[in-house]
């Protein structure tokens, strides 16, 4: 079998010989370790090594892709890519990034990745032990794991682009199951990055969130004022983030089409896409475009969409360095970097006081099904608490909240100071708690 370098060079040579204008490879290799414990024993232990190469060619002005995890037969891979390029009927230009300089970024060191397997296993065991000891109602663990990995990404093309990055990732996940009488409830908490070894905070948080679910019941159906807690608000923003992608706008799949320069949210809302955010910085995107900070919404006014090279060329603007890929095997699409609503002045408790009578929503589920990023409509199962005069009266479950995302954005009365980021998936979304106008609640 060829080495990776030999294979890449052969692909480039073969692509150019067969009439491609340019060719690019995107390679991701990862080494990972994962351990899951239950009852002081390892129940799952996994070691991973993977490497794949995605070839993108420009042939007759059109882009074709082919991906493989077997580094043999470069001719066949190039033939697949050219065949796919020939199939393209969309005539939009799809440029590749040439040689360029990258901004200096400083990634926080992550020594957790370098711990021995024994130390990582001990960490998971200690997490379980400490969670079980933290509250008498913790009956068992639904989940308790430590994951670490090193992901190396390499992008290079025949225009001279050469971009390399190494991500050192680690995270802890725990989910205690609490039992009180006949009722059982579970709540997941995560911690990413080097701080995961200080996990006391997520134990406390997961227990509090599980306790909140006991003795809950539905409220009467009707309109309620809503305080959306930061994590639930972030989940909702994440599910609707594709509305801001230029490629969705250009294809008529976003209600934000034609809204640049117009108010789309209340003045309290500012949205930024910041690839330099300290906890998750990157020097370039999935096309090797150097990172830039993008102001998306300023005081409620839509300032920019998120662009990759192709959608930027179509609108005659520069890429906002928001090319993404759904894994190394996928085609170039759009993805946020660190995309967040900027924090406001009020603490969560102050927002609760301002809520007065209404519902605090602490969890939204079914986001892949119960909302539509094209229409902006959502109708989601929710959990939370009922508040009267700013004080929590009881827990609430078995309700749905329904509304429209753009209407919700326009109805935001106040943004909290408690900005919180979700996990770094394809794009990392951050949101503070949001005091929003009325939503329709279905319950009893």
């Amino acid at each position: 079998m060829m080495t990776y370098e030999q294979f890449k060079d052969a692909c480039f040579r073969c692509a150019l010989e067969n009439g491609c204008e340019s060719a690019e490879v995107y390679t991701a290799s990862s080494d990972g370790f994962s351990v899951n414990v239950l009852n002081a024993e390892i129940i799952k232990y996994a070691v991973e090594r993977s490497k794949g190469l995605n070839l993108r060619v420009l042939f007759d002005g059109k882009t074709g892709y082919a991906y493989t995890e077997v580094f043999e037969d470069p001719e066949s891979l190039v033939a697949h890519a050219i065949d796919n390029a020939k199939a393209i009927e969309n005539t939009d230009e799809s440029p590749m990034q040439g040689a360029c300089e990258y901004p200096e970024i400083t990634k926080k060191p992550n020594p957790v990745v370098d711990l021995s397997e024994e130390e990582k296993i001990d960490l998971a065991l200690a997490m379980e032990r400490d969670t079980l000891a933290a509250d008498a109602r913790v009956n068992r663990m639904g989940y308790c794991s430590v994951d670490t990995g090193v992901i190396e990404t390499h992008i290079s093309n025949t225009l001279g682009l050469n971009a390399d990055s190494t991500e050192r990732v680690s995270y802890a996940v725990l989910a205690p199951i609490l039992r009180d009488g006949e009722e059982e409830h579970e709540s997941y908490s995560f911690k990413f990055g080097p701080e995961m070894t200080e996990y006391a905070g997520i134990i406390k948080e997961s227990i509090e969130n599980a306790l909140m679910q006991f003795n809950a019941s539905a409220v009467d159906s009707g309109e309620y004022r809503i305080l959306l807690r930061n994590d639930a608000a972030g989940d909702l923003l994440s599910a609707f983030s594709s509305m801001f992608f230029a490629e969705r706008v250009q294809k008529g799949l976003s209600l934000l089409g034609g809204k640049l320069g117009q108010p789309i949210a209340s003045e309290a809302v500012t949205i930024v896409d910041d690839p330099f955010e300290a906890d998750n910085p990157r020097a370039f995107d999935a096309e090797g475009v150097p990172s830039v900070l993008t102001s998306v919404v300023e005081k409620g006014v839509l300032k920019s969409y998120l662009y990759n090279l192709k959608s930027a060329r179509k609108d005659g603007v520069a890429s906002t360095s928001n090319a993404g890929r759904m894994g190394p095997a996928g085609a170039v699409t759009t993805a946020p970097s660190n995309f967040y609503i900027g924090k406001g002045e009020k603490s969560f408790d102050e927002l609760r006081t301002a809520l007065g009578n209404g519902l605090i929503i602490t969890e939204l589920s079914g986001l892949h099904a119960g909302l539509n990023p094209i229409s902006g409509d959502f109708s989601l199962i929710a959990k939370g608490q009922l508040a009267e005069n700013g004080e929590i009266v009881r827990s609430v479950d078995q309700i749905t909240v329904a509304g429209n995302f753009l209407a919700l954005m326009q109805g935001i009365e106040a943004v909290g100071s408690d900005l919180r980021f979700g996990p770094p998936m394809s794009g990392r979304i951050g949101c503070p708690s949001l005091l929003i106008g009325k939503l329709v609640v279905s319950g009893k």
């Binding site: 079998m1 024993e41 390892i42 129940i43 799952k44 232990y45 996994a46 070691v47 991973e48 090594r49 993977s50 892709y65 082919a66 991906y67 493989t68 995890e69 077997v70 065949d83 796919n84 199939a87 393209i88 009927e89 969309n90 005539t91 397997e117 639904g142 199951i177 409830h185 579970e186 009467d220 159906s221 009707g222 309109e223 008529g252 209600l255 095997a329 996928g330 589920s365 079914g366 892949h368 119960g370 539509n372 094209i374 229409s375 902006g376 409509d377 109708s379 989601l380 199962i381 479950d397 078995q398 309700i399 749905t400 909240v401 329904a402 429209n404 939503l439 329709v440 609640v441 279905s442």
Partner: protein
């Protein structure tokens, strides 16, 4: 092919530290996708994913290591990595392979005989049919996928199983817009067949038309009211309610660790007596079918619920050790990057005896969910939620008007007891199911059913 000496070496290396079971899984998958937007091909992709994983069990402990390299050195490295989870000395020797199970592809027309021109022609037909349905259709997105998934499993109990699973799926989404509002409809049939699915099973123009019909109908529909009412759920993808509200809670993944509302309920009444439910991985050419599962066990037809009584869980090898329950041919995984666990295949409410029209006529005021969207469940509490893709409000037993934006929520154990009608005509529809061992193709299905009471969410205001 892989030499039997290498298989032996890998299975024994994995047992070196005291494991009592080892397993080698090899995968080679080729996938072609085409995306057409607004009648133009936007993207075409080819992917070949190849890799291997080695699993070791000792009692109910499990270790897994995988690699994209599949040469001898890489396989032995995986075996060593998985074995390193245990700290003992060798207790068991791997048996020589003595059982050969070979599943042959259901494809009559393999994808290697198909070129992009044929794929594009289909997408074009579907797109044109959607656009022709109404001037209000402003955008059509068509996604085509074909996939040839080849798996091989060897284990230390002497089993060798190979399977080849072709799959086709087309998803057409139509967008209807008017007055600054947008609504969507989608239709996405899929089968475990070759390209012949497009002549034998799928009418692509009808797929486009169905998607457009839902989008346009919903564009002119008022918002669904909110409240607790009777609901009739139509057949096909309506079966997602069984999938989410019940059968996820029957998987060893949750039952084996005591984390399901259905733990300890075998041979007890868990559903109303009209309910019979089945998970059947053997149906030829269906989206969720296979010959052998990803642990090398034969696919089975599993009767889960009979006249409301729980008869079986869905159990993989590790689950059978945790639960003292026989394996049910339910060990599945997305690909080599996941260890297998208990999963569904084709899961459906079996046909009942009730009249489809009568159940609407006698329901009073409520919702008719003609097309369901996706959903999810918390197996510990059984709390589920589903989106309704195309709903109709029913008043005094008569369909009043379409309604948009409805969601159904509830608790699985409660809703199963509230099913009071099951129709005669059952059909299935495909979906992708996400769980611990990744995203896998599963069918859901049912005849038209009625639930006497369920929470309906929508933004049309309280009833």
């Amino acid at each position: 092919m892989i030499k039997s000496s290498i298989v032996d070496a890998v299975l024994n290396e994995a047992l070196k530290t005291g494991g009592d079971f080892s397993e080698l899984y090899l995968q080679d998958t080729e996938t072609n996708t085409v995306t057409m937007i607004d009648g133009k091909v936007e993207n075409a992709n080819y992917q070949r994913k190849v890799g291997a994983g080695v699993r070791v069990l000792k009692g109910t402990r499990s270790a897994y290591a995988y690699s994209a390299d599949t040469d001898e050195a890489a396989l032995l490295a995986c075996a060593k990595a998985a074995a390193s989870a245990l700290k003992g000395t060798k207790e068991f020797e791997a048996k020589k392979i003595c059982v050969d199970r070979i599943g042959t592809s259901w494809a009559k027309i393999p994808f290697s005989e198909i070129d992009n021109a044929k794929r594009i022609e289909l997408m074009r037909k579907g797109t044109n049919a959607a656009k022709a349905y109404s001037d209000e259709i402003t955008q059509v997105v068509a996604n085509y996928m074909d996939c040839d998934h080849r798996t091989r499993v060897y284990n230390s109990e002497g089993v060798h199983a190979e399977d080849r699973r072709p799959r086709v799926r087309t998803a057409i989404q139509a967008v209807a817009m008017a007055n600054g509002e947008a609504q969507t409809g989608s239709s996405s049939p899929g089968y475990g067949m070759g390209f012949e699915a497009y002549t034998d099973k799928i009418d692509i123009e009808n797929v486009g038309k169905e998607a457009a019909k839902t989008a346009v109908t919903m564009l002119h529909a008022p918002e669904c009211p909110a409240g607790t009412v009777p609901v009739v759920i139509d057949g096909g993808f309506g079966g997602v309610i069984l999938h989410e509200a019940c059968v996820h809670g029957l998987e060893a993944t949750s039952v084996g660790r005591g984390n399901s509302v259905f733990c300890g309920k075998l041979n007890q009444q868990i559903a109303s007596p009209v309910v019979n439910a089945v998970d059947d991985g053997t149906l030829p050419g269906e989206w969720g079918s296979m010959h052998y599962d990803d642990e090398g066990n034969p696919a089975q037809r599993n009767l889960l619920i009979e006249n409301g009584i729980l008869k079986s869980y869905l159990v993989d090898i590790l689950g059978s050790r945790l639960m003292n329950h026989p394996v049910t041919g339910s060990g599945r995984r997305q690909d080599y990057t996941y260890a297998p666990t208990s999963r569904m295949t084709n899961t459906f409410f079996a046909p009942g005896k009730d009249d489809e029209e009568e159940m609407l006529r006698t329901m009073g005021d409520g919702l008719f969910a003609a097309k369901m969207g996706g959903g999810s469940v918390n197996p510990l509490t059984g709390e589920f939620n589903f989106a309704v893709g195309e709903g109709y409000w029913v008043k005094d037993g008569k369909i009043l008007c379409p309604v948009r934006g409805a969601t159904l929520i509830g608790k699985g154990a409660e809703v199963l007891m509230k099913i009071d009608r099951i129709g005669k005509n059952m059909w299935m529809a495909p979906g992708m199911c996400g769980s611990q061992s990744g995203s896998i193709p599963t069918n859901v299905g049912q005849p038209r059913i009625r639930v006497s009471e369920i929470v309906v969410g929508g933004k049309g205001g309280a009833l």
